[in-house]
Amino acid sequence: MPTSEVDAGLATLSDQLVLVTVLLYVAAMIGYALELAFAAPRTNQVSGARRKVLAGAGGPSADESAGSEVSATSTKPPASPGWAQRAGTVALVVGWLGWAANLAAVVIRGLAVERWPWANMYEFVVAICFAAVTAFLFMQIRFPVRFLGAFVFVASTIGLGFAVRYLHVQAGPVQPSLNTYWIAIHVSAAILASGLFMLAGVSGILYLIRKDGLSRLPTRTDLERVAHRAILVAFPIWTFAIIAGALWADRAWGRYWGWDPKEVWSFITWIGYAAYLHACTTAGWKGKKATIIQIIAFAALLFNLVGVNIFVGGLHSYADVP
């Protein structure tokens, strides 16, 4: 039985924690940006061992990044002033603090309303930003992706700012159709995948901005690798989210697929990322072309979230946009 009781104190605390999160993310972003800006520029030219593809092998054509995947050793940022490195370390700590605040905001909102805290667009966007930052922070434990920090935090700050400014609704109970465990399955998967796609999208946009040659931005190889890894993980999760959505639709709306706008656009997004993966593994497309496909898919994802919720509507209009 749903309750209509909302713990107003907890709800306010959650709202304040989102603001704290924004401040901490901004601080982390500045720290990472300082580190990046005062580090020595990096080159895309791979100096280390470069594996040559067998002559006449018909492998990937030698475009700007072909064969450079093995160049991990050459992309270590050259020495930068000590204080810049320290700024990066501080940023990392502040980033984790922001992450904790973000996590607390989501959990406390859930406690305040006694349900899963992602039933409207405000809660959903806050959760996606959390997922993106989580993906980044955990990835950087195992892989050298620190260079992405500034950009991930920019994206998350924009997302949270947008949510607070334009999407915020008071904590409250949900309408009957959302009052089911399906929300935990379907929406959690969508959030997780969207967070990872966001990480990939940020890398992809940087990839396109960065020209070849000397730049303070991370190398194209690194960017591409981060994007590829994130999409590889996110794609099955996204697929699961859509199938779970169809199962839910079969329970709630009386059909598993009905070309509702949200369904159409999640299908388009799915095709887009599938095309990206396919291009990478089968067609051997790498670099710019694959990145452009990835960005198109990301645009479809964003349109599904923002455009469909705000401008199009349909059965799936739970966004509760104020």
Partner: protein, 528 residues
């Protein structure tokens, strides 16, 4: 790659038929083009793109009122959009053309590939190339080992192995193509399941009042949409009775009036003669009778009225379903037609206010969707209702053109109140409030097959994107002074772009075969 001539052709765009091939040649070329993998992918892409207008332009099947609005506001544009089927994208011939072509293309692509793959699976790994140094991955080291031992180690890494007198050939990653085929076959399966569901399934909508019943027959539906292969006799013969409907709302705070829960209590008889069972129908909990699902879609109010005519006869005594005009407060409007009233027919327009409050200007409005203070406002008319004219009328509307207003103003009625109509035309008593629900019943025999097909498709896709096909060859040669064996290893991945990822695995394999350090394996780059 040079050494993979036996590769399954992945992305071969067929060449044009060349000059002078004639009709047969063109047909063959057309078939080959249609059935190439790339065409299937392009069609899948096109399928996605073609669905975009369906998400941006209102669709007749979903929102006919918005389509009508388009026609009113921009008639010329609407006429063009209509000509292009933009209001019925998913029923349009061009949308059908895309998925039928996709269907054909998949069939043409899958059948030969399955044959080739079945042969490949049975075939032994290919014999060793003469010069292992020419392979993209290569290493050599000295180690005391034998052909059998190398073969065993590779088998342990789940390679399929073939041996010669002084060599071992191993291959792995067949699951890639298996997954790929499963993906494509299940896409076909998905299309078939969807088609099957729409041919052999049906859906129907019905409005049901508290205290009334429903039996699953074609005639009982207000709207019934069968698939072309459905016969009226094939409907699952269940029936149920709506005992009670309950809606709960948030009572106070900013979200006052928001629905929390809808619950319809049913007594269900699964088939004639079987015992009744109690079922509570909720939004996410449909009623399931042998795969025929009944969903709770909407609800509203039906005030009950007792109407006496000018001769003192009870001419009407029933609930009247009202149309919700404001879903936030459930302010509803309804029409009552009393054709049997004498001496003249009577008609009423009523406004139902579930929680009626009086505003400063003296008018009334509803402040809350729950029936806290349910009042009705009534306007009465007499004269010819026009029901015999043959023109269809909505039950929710009263055609007041030919009617004489009898009563145009009164205080809202409470349950139990009666108004006497002027001129001895009779009276109307507001006797109570019931609720109605709208239900949708759906039978779709394709839903479980569609689920199975999509799950297999996803697993297949993950395999085909995640698994690499790779070959490893090992040649052993005695060292001249008889002290150990020179082990030469070559490796090749048959997945373009997977080269770098294979490098790590190759190093592992070389180490597993006995090279003492990765340094030895590193020799593989020496040939560059």
């Amino acid at each position: 790659m040079a050494t993979t001539s036996s590769d399954v052709k992945l992305d071969v765009t067929p060449r044009g038929p060349g000059g002078g091939l004639g009709v047969a040649g063109w047909l063959r070329w057309g078939w080959r083009t249609l059935t190439s993998m790339r065409t299937a992918l392009v069609l899948l892409f096109l399928f996605a793109v073609a669905s975009i207008p369906g998400s941006l332009v209102p669709q007749r099947g979903v929102a006919p009122e918005k389509v009508a609005e388009h026609f009113k506001n921009t008639p010329e544009l609407a006429a063009w959009l209509d000509r292009l089927w933009f209001y019925d994208v998913f029923q349009s011939p061009w949308f059908a053309a895309i998925y039928l072509l996709l269907f054909l293309s998949l069939i043409g692509c899958v059948i030969p590939r399955t044959k080739v793959h079945l042969e490949e699976i049975r075939r032994k790994p290919p014999a060793i190339p003469r010069n292992l140094k020419r392979l993209p991955h290569h290493a050599s080291f000295t180690e005391e080992t034998t052909v059998d031992e190398v073969a065993a180690r590779l088998r342990k890494r789940r390679f399929r192995v073939e041996t010669g007198p002084d060599w071992v050939s191993a291959e792995k990653g067949y699951l890639r193509e298996t997954g790929n085929l499963f993906f494509h076959i299940s896409l076909l399966g998905l299309l078939v399941a969807v088609g099957f569901g729409s041919l052999y399934g049906y859906r129907g909508n019905v409005l049901l009042m508290e205290g009334s019943g429903f039996a699953n027959t074609v005639a009982a539906y207000d709207r019934y949409i069968p698939g072309t292969m459905v016969s009226a006799e094939s409907l699952t013969p269940f029936s149920f009775h709506l005992e009670d409907f309950n809606a709960t709302y948030v009572i106070e705070g900013e979200r006052r009036g928001q629905a929390l829960d809808f619950a319809a209590k049913l007594k269900v008889t699964d088939r004639p003669g079987s015992p009744e069972r109690d079922v509570t129908l909720k939004v996410n909990e449909p009623l399931d009778v042998d795969g025929t699902m009944t969903y709770l879609l909407g609800n509203g109010y039906a005030p009950t009225f007792k109407i006496t005519d000018g001769k003192g006869q009870v001419a009407f005594d029933a609930p009247v379903p009202c149309l919700v005009v404001d879903s936030a407060t459930f302010t509803s409007e309804c029409a009552i037609k009393v054709p049997d009233a004498a001496p003249t027919q009577l008609g009423f327009l009523t406004r139902f206010l579930p929680t009626s409050v009086k505003l400063h200007d003296g008018t009334y409005t509803s402040a809350f969707p729950g029936a806290v203070n349910p009042q009705v406002e009534v306007w009465a008319f007499s004269g010819d209702l026009g029901l015999d004219s043959g023109a269809p009328q909505s039950v929710y509307q009263l055609e007041t053109k030919g009617l004489k207003p009898l009563l145009m103003q009164s205080k809202p009625l409470n349950v139990g109140d009666t108004i006497e109509l002027p001129n001895g035309a009779g009276s109307i008593t507001y006797t109570g409030v019931k609720q109605w629900i709208t239900l949708q019943t759906t039978y779709d025999p394709g839903r479980v097959p569609a689920l199975i097909a999509s799950v297999i498709a996803v697993i297949g896709l993950i395999l085909s994107l995640g698994v690499r096909r790779r070959r490893v060859w090992v040649r052993l040669a005695e060292v001249k002074d008889g002290n150990g064996t020179v082990v030469e290893v070559g490796g090749l991945t048959r997945t373009e772009g997977g080269d770098a990822a294979f490098a790590g695995e190759f190093d592992d394999i070389v180490r597993a075969l006995g090279a003492r350090s990765a340094g030895t394996a590193g020799e593989k780059n020496a040939h560059q």
